[in-house]
């Protein structure tokens, strides 16, 4: 990876610099070698990756459908980014800690977070449905970039625990998008990680868009080069190539765990869907772009590879599809069963220790709601008060 002192690429070239990309599997399903990223995968492992890709796409599909049907308030689809997420997610070890945005559903899958737990936030029944410690998968972070500092701090904690440079060394991985690279917090996290040589992998999914804004609004050079400015390595990988994402992330994580400090990975990919289900991309981007990216689909190329190399037959593909369908149906069912929070749940967990003001408001509100229950007069407020049974 060499970096010239150029004044930045002219518009357009930013989206097109395949020359700089680490790729191990072409869109046509051809395996290519890269001297820095040797990767040995068994047929089983490749089939597992394929399975992952298909299932997470199905979960995502189901969630989009649930949103259309009014069962979720909104959904941030990962369509097109499956390889970036599965590749990096499968590079993780149990001891590593993940700091996601709001779109890392496939990474959650790799960490063993049950898909239904991701839906709570989008259905509006909670702000996060899982225990980050249980899965080493932090809460989704919506405020763009904030989690990158958490990742850097957590990594400093790993250092302080002496858990770097040992066999069981740990690292953190911070996910963020192309738009996020403009935020102060993200750049501050680069400063921290580099100055403290902290075990963080910064995994930027450059899906070319920040809602309606194309990459050119955030940078005039490829994003992976940002790391250069902070003195740590940056690397661009084909984000639609699950092999390359796996290999590159594995190496970066190993290097972090080994005490070599941070790496920035730019996974060059594409947001195939809308920003979220409330977005309308036809207002700002051309259909042709989407068509071009369809040819680079992250799943198709693995399928092609498996077929070409006779690692899978149609029974396998049918099985995976069936399993994916089942997972999707389960998610749907569980979603519809998600209990609504009761009104009194508003006061839960605001503080870890007793807090006079919370207790007071809680009591007042309970009394207020009880007033309706007593009166049972069927007004709007009283109707809702019935839900209180669900309060935790």
């Amino acid at each position: 990876m060499t970096v010239d002192a150029s004044r930045g690429a002219p518009p357009g070239t930013l989206r097109n610099s395949s020359a700089e990309l680490v790729q191990l599997l072409t869109p046509e399903g051809e395996r290519v070698e890269h001297p820095d990223y040797p990767l040995e995968l068994t047929a089983d492992e490749i089939r597992d990756l394929y399975r992952d890709l298909v299932i997470v796409r199905r979960i995502d599909f189901e969630a989009v459908a649930l949103t259309r049907q009014g069962e979720l308030g909104i959904w941030a689809s990962l369509l097109g980014q499956e390889a970036a997420q599965i590749g990096s997610g499968r590079a993780l070890r149990d001891q590593d800690m993940v700091f996601p945005t709001y779109r890392e559903h496939a990474v959650a899958w790799c960490c063993g977070v049950e898909p239904i737990k991701l839906l709570g936030l989008y259905r509006g029944v909670n702000h996060a449905g899982w225990d980050p410690k249980e899965h080493n998968f932090h809460l989704y972070t919506i405020v763009i970039g904030a989690q990158t500092l958490h990742a850097a701090g957590y990594a400093m904690g790993i250092q302080r625990d002496g858990a770097v440079g040992t066999e069981s060394g740990a690292a953190t991985i911070a996910y963020f998008g192309d738009g996020a690279t403009s935020q102060g917090d993200v750049n501050e996290s680069f400063v921290w990680a580099s100055v403290f040589n902290a075990p963080v992998v910064f995994f930027c999914q450059n899906n070319q868009w920040a809602i309606s804004e194309p990459l050119e609004k955030q940078s005039r050079i490829p994003l992976y080069r940002r790391a250069q400015g902070f003195g740590f390595p940056g690397i661009r990988v084909d984000g639609n190539d699950v092999f390359a994402c796996l290999a590159v992330t594995r190496k970066a994580l190993d290097s972090a765990r080994d005490g070599q400090g941070p790496t920035l990975i730019e996974a060059f990919t594409y947001r195939m869907g809308a920003h979220t289900t409330t977005d309308d991309p036809t207002r700002y981007r051309l259909e042709a772009e989407l068509e071009a990216w369809k040819l680079k689909d992250p799943i198709e190329r693995v399928k092609a590879y498996l077929v070409k190399n006779e690692m899978a037959d149609s029974a396998f593909f049918d099985d995976v599809d069936a399993e994916a369908k089942q997972v999707g149906m389960d998610v749907r069912k569980q979603c519809l069963e998600l209990p609504d929070p009761g009104p009194m749940s508003i006061f839960d967990h605001v503080y870890a220790e007793p807090h006079a003001l919370i207790s007071e408001e809680q009591e007042q509100f309970a009394a207020y709601l009880a007033g309706f229950a007593d009166a049972a007069d069927g007004t709007d407020g009283a109707g809702r008060a019935d839900e209180e049974g669900n309060a935790s």
Partner: protein, 325 residues
């Protein structure tokens, strides 16, 4: 006098367009304000008509948006910044409170910063976290800023233009759950009340109800629903400066006052209203000023937000309590 029936969002767009036509120095800047027209489409069509140099899709960083707007204002422009959602104004707080608010005073009046920061605010639209905040008191407390909140299409149209004309920085709150409310809008600015004047949205005799932004409509509904008492609803419109005269006149008449806002009650702007009104109307008050607001908790998941947000019942409950004192 021409009148058009517009949604609040469209009225804002029309106001912005008018301001841009009137003054070539007016710029729009923010995330997705260009082709997309903003996530609420408030700036829809403006980039197409005024070009990319006047309607600027910025990098994704709120401190950068406000900080560069300060710079543009120093060069003689009148930037109107959009913060995409209330919860995302916090990264810009330093630029707003330490820079934007203070620069006129720090420069002994040499510098004016006519910057408007538009913030869609409040809950009630079923959004995920950080999309339903009501951060107005942070700005009301920061001297050097003017802070206003529109509640209806007609005000949206005029107040945004008045804010852009202001020589001082203005934090402009837009009640996002009212964006789609429609009403007739008088297109002649001259007929509008001054930016910082409160208006009696519904006259009444028994109790004064104060609100701004999204809560005005709720209070009006409460007033309409109360058959027993006559509620006088005042739309503050401006929270800094506050039109205390209009408020006092009402409270001295009614002797009772309820304040409603979506932000948590504790340390919220209602505290200032209650404290100030009590100072001015001590002997007129039959009961303490009561506050109805969000609970002192983070904004809850949307499936329970209707319980969190002050509604008609909770407002009338407070009204009742002022009579029970």
């Amino acid at each position: 006098m021409t009148t058009e029936t517009l949604t609040l969002a469209k009225a804002l767009g029309a106001g912005l367009r008018k301001a841009m036509e009137d003054d070539p120095k007016v710029l729009i800047m923010g995330e997705d304000v260009g082709k997309l027209g903003g996530v609420f489409r408030v700036t829809d069509g403006l980039q197409k008509d005024f070009g990319e140099s006047r309607v600027i899709d910025t990098p994704l960083a709120e401190s950068g948006i406000v900080g560069t707007a300060v710079g543009l204002a120093l060069r003689g422009y009148r930037p109107v910044c959009e913060i995409q959602f209330d919860g995302f104004v916090f990264p810009a707080v330093d630029q707003i409170i330490s820079q934007l608010a203070k620069m006129h005073m720090r420069s002994l009046g040499a510098i004016q910063l006519p910057v408007v920061v538009r913030i869609p605010c409040g809950g009630g639209i079923g959004a995920v976290e950080h999309h339903s905040e009501s951060p107005e008191v942070h700005f009301a407390h920061a001297a050097g800023l003017r802070v206003v909140a529109c509640s209806n299409p007609a005000d949206a149209y005029t107040m945004i233009q008045q804010s852009i004309r202001s020589a001082d920085p203005v934090i402009f709150f837009e009640p996002k759950r009212r964006y789609w409310d429609k009403a007739p809008v008088e297109m002649d600015l001259a007929a509008a009340p001054p930016l910082h004047q409160a208006v009696v949205a519904r006259p009444g005799d028994d109790v004064t109800v104060l609100a701004y932004g999204p809560m005005v409509k709720t209070c009006l509904e409460a007033a309409a629903a109360d058959d027993e008492r006559s509620l006088e609803v005042i739309d503050l419109r401006s929270i800094n400066p506050l039109d205390i005269e209009t408020i006092m006149a009402s409270v001295r008449k009614t002797g009772r006052c309820v304040v409603a806002h979506e932000a948590p009650v504790f340390g919220g702007f209602g505290a200032e209203l209650a404290a100030r009104i009590t100072e001015r109307c001590f002997y007129h008050l039959e009961a303490p000023v009561l506050r109805v607001g969000g609970f002192s908790t983070p904004y809850p998941p949307s499936r329970v937000e209707e319980q969190y947000l002050p509604n008609l019942d909770r407002i009338l409950d407070a009204v009742d309590r002022t009579f029970g004192w």
